[in-house]
């Protein structure tokens, strides 16, 4: 099923790219439809895996990355529908494809390991946490597109893609929406983690490096949402802040998970 999903993601990417260059509504609709089908197929693959391990598949690198890719797709689809903008699909979908390919390349060949039985609250904590990372990843992509578009507008020779990508104002609004999704998800996910831990141990592990970095992530994205309200910070500066913030997210998702915490190391 993974291969079917991957094939549909690739087809969707082709559709989004064709839509960018041809600017025909029906091509864009087909691309969106293909993305929906890819997400359904991908969901089916995740579900199949869940049935085997009797849990949401986040417990190894493969499952975690695959779930992340799926949530990026779902979040992007929500943004596309809300902002009625398809042009950035040609850059977001390759990002999903990249994570899918990486996930598939590290997929365990042997029988899947069952995760520790931590209950529904824990599963929700992790899933919502990954959703937050997916939303931050999209805001990062949108901010990078903003910075490139801004540079082309000021100094470059605008090509066809320049005229077809959303306006800077629209890119900023999309990025802001994505950060809102991420921030709310991270807030809920972290709270659920605290509740779960308190139920289990009767205390809060505030000193865990993962928790500390997560609180920093919450703070920097909250700061981003504050500064984009000030006209003097809106634009390229805000986009740059968003790009830098994602650096902390990556740090939290990779280095912290692998080297600094035992509590949050799942693979």
């Amino acid at each position: 099923m993974d291969f079917a999903a991957l094939g549909l993601y690739v087809a969707s990417f082709v559709g989004y790219t064709a839509n960018l260059y041809r600017d025909r509504r029906w091509i864009g609709r087909v691309a969106t439809l293909l993305l929906i089908l890819a997400l359904v197929a991908h969901y089916d693959a995740l579900l199949e895996r869940s049935r085997i391990i009797h849990a949401i598949p986040y417990d190894d690198l493969y499952g975690s990355m695959s779930l992340f890719a799926w949530l990026v797709g779902v979040t992007y689809l929500g943004l596309e529908t809300y902002h009625r903008q398809r042009a950035v699909g040609s850059l977001v979908v390759p990002f999903i494809i990249f994570w899918m390919v990486v996930a598939m390349s590290v997929a365990p060949a042997s029988v899947l390991r069952e995760p520790r039985a931590n209950g529904a609250l824990f599963a929700l904590h992790i899933t919502i946490g990954i959703l937050a990372y997916a939303a931050f990843a999209i805001s990062f992509l949108l901010s990078v597109i903003y910075l490139v578009q801004n540079r082309v507008l000021r100094h470059g020779k605008p090509g066809l893609a320049f005229w077809r990508f959303p306006a800077l104002d629209v890119l900023e609004r999309m990025s802001r929406s994505s950060v809102w999704v991420g921030l709310v998800a991270l807030l809920i996910g972290t709270s659920l983690g605290f509740v779960w831990e308190h139920r289990l141990t009767g205390r809060f592990a505030i000193a865990d490096p993962k928790v500390l970095v997560t609180l920093i992530v919450l703070a920097v994205y909250a700061a981003y949402l504050m500064i984009v309200r000030a006209p003097a910070w809106r634009g390229a500066r805000a986009a740059l802040v968003c790009v830098c913030n994602f650096g902390i997210v990556l740090f939290s998702y990779t280095i912290v998970n692998l080297y600094f915490t035992n509590f949050h190391r799942f693979f």
Binding site: Y21, L153, K157, P166, L168, D169, P231, G235
Partner: protein, 454 residues
């Protein structure tokens, strides 16, 4: 006109040879002074089409008239070889010009060349501004006017519907119309790249100039909110504001107004900068750093170039915009081969349809000729064979009729199905001549009668 009646006209395709004729002039063949004189108003276009049909010069007519071209499209029967000349005479008389004034200015196309010309026009490759979008709407308007007026018929209906399809495909499948081609539109499109929709945004026009007015026109089309005009002469500013649908402001108050607009268009004559970096810096502080888009159309420049470095200030002068227009022009030119291929595809499609009409007409004529020969032959023989009963005569009639049906059946099927064969026959003219299908019926009947009697 209802769709049913249009369909009815399309179905009632002529079964015989028809030729498309075109005469006209455009920006390549005639200067603007002459184009102004030969332009048709919509009412004149309808009248001209009617008169051409009523006079019998052509059977169907459409007049396409824009600021860059005036063209008459007509359908003639095969006997109308002098039609283009008659169309030229009408064109000259209609505009009260002497033939000498139009000498060398008019082009004439017939058949495939006329079809190709219209398809090129609709696709925008024949326009002064390569790939411009307006021409497709103008062709559509011209056709719809003629259609409502009833001066079109099956051939021109098919031709113009094909042209509209070519125009749509050229714009949808290629980039011929994708990028702005005028300085004014490029400026406004760039502003859209910053703000998205311009509805609700405000603009300040500083000074007056033809290009600035074009910019305002594009801004208005995009629903710009507030529009203010500032000029050294308040009277001139008021006049411009009235024409542009904005408000005029005093020049002395100009600097205090910079905190409001999102877009500033400057077009002031003079050697000093109207907007210096210091002024814009103060304005940005007053507007809390909100993005400002400045289009400097002045030569020499009205805005100090160092202003470009200010955060959230987007400054484009006439050279920047000119460069973008040149880039876009090159990009559109690179699309020409793809547009030409769409045009050729539709020309071939139209000619195939036209050939199928001719094929049907030829077979009808061939059958009619054979039938006439049969009747003539039978009449002559029946006169000599008095002993034949009514039944026997009827059987003879039936037998000869079946024979003709069998003779016609095979070529009929082949001509209708084999497009390649129709092309090889080159318009079927040779076949018509071979079988004498264009001759008067009595030319050959005489011989048959003589033979039968002998």
């Amino acid at each position: 006109m209802s769709m049913d009646s249009i369909a009815e006209r399309n179905d009632a395709a002529p079964r015989g040879r028809v030729a498309i004729a075109l005469i006209g002039c455009n920006h390549r063949t005639a200067p603007v002074e002459l184009r102004e004189r030969v332009a048709f108003t919509p009412e004149q276009a309808v009248r001209a089409a009617n008169e051409l049909c009523q006079m019998g010069v052509i059977e169907e007519a459409v007049v396409v008239s824009t600021c860059n071209r005036s063209e008459l499209y007509g359908v003639t029967s095969e006997s109308g070889e002098s039609t283009p000349s008659a169309m030229v005479s009408y064109f000259t008389d209609f505009h009260k010009l002497s033939p000498a004034e139009l000498s060398g200015r008019l082009y004439r196309h017939a058949g495939p060349e006329a079809v190709r010309h219209l398809f090129r026009v609709a696709s925008g490759v024949d326009s002064m501004l390569l790939g411009e979008a307006e021409i497709l709407g103008q062709v559509r308007d011209a056709y719809n006017r003629a259609l409502e007026n009833g001066s079109t018929g099956p051939v021109l209906n098919r031709l113009f519907q094909g042209a509209l399809e070519v125009g749509k495909r050229a714009r949808a499948e290629t980039e011929i119309g994708a990028r702005p081609m005028s300085v004014a539109l490029a400026g406004v499109k760039l502003a859209e790249r910053v703000f998205g929709e311009l509805k609700g945004h405000s603009a300040l026009i500083v000074g007056a100039g033809a290009v600035a007015e074009q910019v305002v026109e594009h801004l208005r089309l995009r629903g710009i909110g507030e529009l203010r005009v500032v000029n050294r002469s308040l009277v001139r500013a008021q006049e411009l504001a009235r024409r542009m649908g904005g408000e005029a402001s005093d020049w002395a108050n100009f600097e205090n107004q910079l905190d409001q607009p999102d877009i500033i268009v400057t077009s002031v004559s003079g050697s000093e900068h109207v907007l210096t970096r210091a002024i814009v810096e103060r304005a940005m502080a007053a507007r809390s750093g909100r993005a400002l888009f400045v289009i400097d159309l002045g030569v020499p420049r009205n805005v100090e170039p160092e202003t470009e470095g200010l955060y959230n200030v987007y400054l484009f002068n006439i050279d920047h915009l000119g460069e973008i227009v040149v880039q876009n022009k090159k990009a559109r030119e690179a699309e020409l081969p793809r547009v030409k291929s769409i045009v050729e595809e539709h020309v071939a499609k139209f000619l195939a349809w036209q050939s199928s009409l001719e094929a049907a007409g030829l077979l009808d004529a061939f059958r009619a000729r054979l039938d006439a020969e049969r009747r003539s032959l039978l009449a002559a023989h029946f006169a000599n064979l008095e002993g034949l009963s009514e039944n026997e005569r009827a059987r003879f009639e039936k037998l000869t009729e079946d024979l003709i049906n069998r003779i016609v059946q095979l070529p009929s099927a082949r001509l209708r199905q084999a497009r390649k064969l129709r092309r090889q026959l080159e318009g079927l003219a040779a076949l018509r001549e071979l079988f004498g299908l264009d001759d008067a019926p009595n030319e050959s009947n005489g011989d048959s009668d003589d033979e039968a009697q002998s």
